[in-house]
């Protein structure tokens, strides 16, 4: 009987302490895994996040991330409190376990999001943006949702730091949202990361929804190629290869001088891009940045973000506010981009398809692909992909700059 009692005490059931909220989180983990595996919504992220949630919520497992207080204090398993920033990494690993070691070493230090940005940069072609510079400005309009939701969140009672982290979901850029939240409101990292990546996965649903509500058929049938033929571009690019090499170096220099807080994101994005554009000279580094490093970073990011979602940290009204606010931020960003194009069209002869504004939020290149699908539904010959990519790519820079502004004012 004594052995049976000890066997029972070994299981997670004996360590629940009468609190069964962890079952809800395990159910949520199954839902996330289902969405990633069966529905294929951002599987590379939702599967590690879902599994991280699963690991974090078994009582006695010690895999959940221990949230530090605003003074940096965390509770150790023996009940005592210690300042996390005074603890050496080996002690964090020993006292708080594997997930806390990964979280406090790779995530909380702000190390992983810029590393992922490097991979994103290496996979991004700035060619469409350079060919359609005029359209790149719409990447700025679509950042409006970030600030509108920040305003609404402040009115709802969130702190400025929390409101900024919530608003940045509207930038539709996972690493940017995570980077900003780590800096401003790390206790909200789990729900914000989930909201950001879930809405990015739902881009094929959200963009058509907003576009249909705000654009007429006539506007969506504006053929960008015809407009180009009617009003040809004055600037001709004679040597794209050299231009693409100079572009990341110049942009990094300018952004670093004007918004230094954005440079860890923009700088790494541009560094990754430079590796790509240099071709054979740096092909080994390019290969490592886009494969080995990015995949490792994605695994650590996904698992540890999932592990922040323990029942105590996630099951509260704030999470519901983040889910609703995140959707609003996303939809408002798309709407603001569309309205910017509409206003622009009032003053120019060379009309722009409002879909170019809708793709001003990041989510590269999915947003552009979705916009192209919408355009070709109305006119099968109207391919807007390259034009949408211009605002889509500049939106990545725009959301990183917006994050830089928020961090420098609120940190």
């Amino acid at each position: 009987m004594d052995i049976l009692t000890k066997l029972y005490e070994m299981t997670a059931f004996a360590q629940t302490g009468g609190d069964w909220a962890f079952l809800i989180m395990i159910l949520l983990a199954f839902v996330l895994l289902y969405l990633g595996i069966v529905k294929k919504y951002e599987p590379l992220l939702l599967i590690p996040i879902g599994f991280g949630v699963l690991l974090a919520n078994f009582p006695g497992g010690g895999m959940g991330v221990a949230q530090a207080t605003s003074e940096g204090l965390v509770q150790l398993p023996d009940g005592s409190w210690e300042n996390i920033w005074d603890m050496p990494l080996h002690k964090i690993a020993h006292e708080l376990g594997l997930m806390n070691f990964i979280y406090y070493m790779c995530i909380k230090t702000g190390f992983i999001p810029p590393i992922i940005f490097m991979g994103v940069g290496a996979l991004t072609d700035f060619g469409p943006m350079l060919r359609n510079l005029r359209l790149s400005i719409f990447g700025a309009g679509a950042q409006f949702g970030i600030f509108a939701v920040l305003l609404a969140s402040l009115a709802m009672g969130f702190t400025p730091q929390e409101a900024a982290s919530l608003g940045i979901i509207g930038g539709a850029d996972g690493p940017t949202a995570i980077f900003t939240t780590i800096k401003l409101a790390p206790h909200l990292l789990g729900p914000i990361a989930i909201a950001a990546y879930s809405y990015m996965a739902l881009v094929p649903v959200i963009i058509p929804l907003v576009v249909k509500a705000l654009c007429s058929k006539k506007e969506l049938m504006i053929n960008m190629k015809q407009q180009d033929k009617l009003y040809p571009n004055k600037t001709e690019i004679k040597n794209m290869r050299i231009l693409k090499i100079l572009f990341p170096i110049s942009v990094t220099t300018i952004v670093a001088l004007l918004v230094p807080t954005a440079v860890s994101l923009v700088g790494m994005l541009m560094f990754g891009n430079l590796l790509k554009e240099l071709g054979a000279m740096t092909s080994r580094l390019f290969d490592t940045a886009t494969n080995a490093i990015m995949n490792t970073a994605t695994i650590f990011l996904g698992l540890s973000v999932g592990a922040t979602m323990t029942a105590q940290a996630f099951l509260n009204l704030t999470t519901i506010g983040i889910v609703v606010g995140g959707f609003l931020a996303f939809a408002l960003s798309i709407a603001a981009g569309i309205f910017m194009v509409k206003i622009f069209n009032l003053f120019v002869k060379k009309k722009v398809n409002p879909l170019v504004g809708a793709t001003g939020l990041s989510a590269v290149p999915m947003a552009s692909r979705v916009a192209n699908d919408i355009a070709t539904k109305y006119d099968p010959k109207n391919h807007v992909l390259n034009y949408c990519m211009a605002s889509n790519i500049s939106g990545v820079i725009g959301s990183a700059v917006a994050a830089g502004v928020l961090i420098s004012f609120l940190q």
Binding site: L151, T235, F247
Partner: protein
């Protein structure tokens, strides 16, 4: 609320300003590159002429039209092979 409005104003102005600077910087770079290094380095590869046409001329014309449509007239089909 005042803080929110201030952040909105500063944030949107900064984002617009930075993107305008990036756009104008790119225009400047295009002009400089066009003057200093106006031509792409010759990388024209001579495609080996196939001894007999593998692809039917109608299919080839369709592929060429599709590539031209997708690349805005800039792309060309150098060779099509059956694997």
């Amino acid at each position: 609320m005042g803080l929110g409005l201030t952040l909105m104003g500063i944030g949107m102005v900064t984002v617009f300003a930075i993107l305008l600077i990036v756009i104008n910087l790119s225009k400047l770079l295009i002009n400089i590159v066009n003057k200093v290094a106006p031509e792409e380095e010759a990388s024209k590869k001579v495609a080996p002429a196939p001894s007999k046409p593998i692809i039917d001329s109608t299919v080839m014309a369709i592929i060429q039209a599709a590539v031209s449509e997708m690349t805005g007239g800039k792309g060309t089909v150098a060779n099509v092979e059956k694997l």
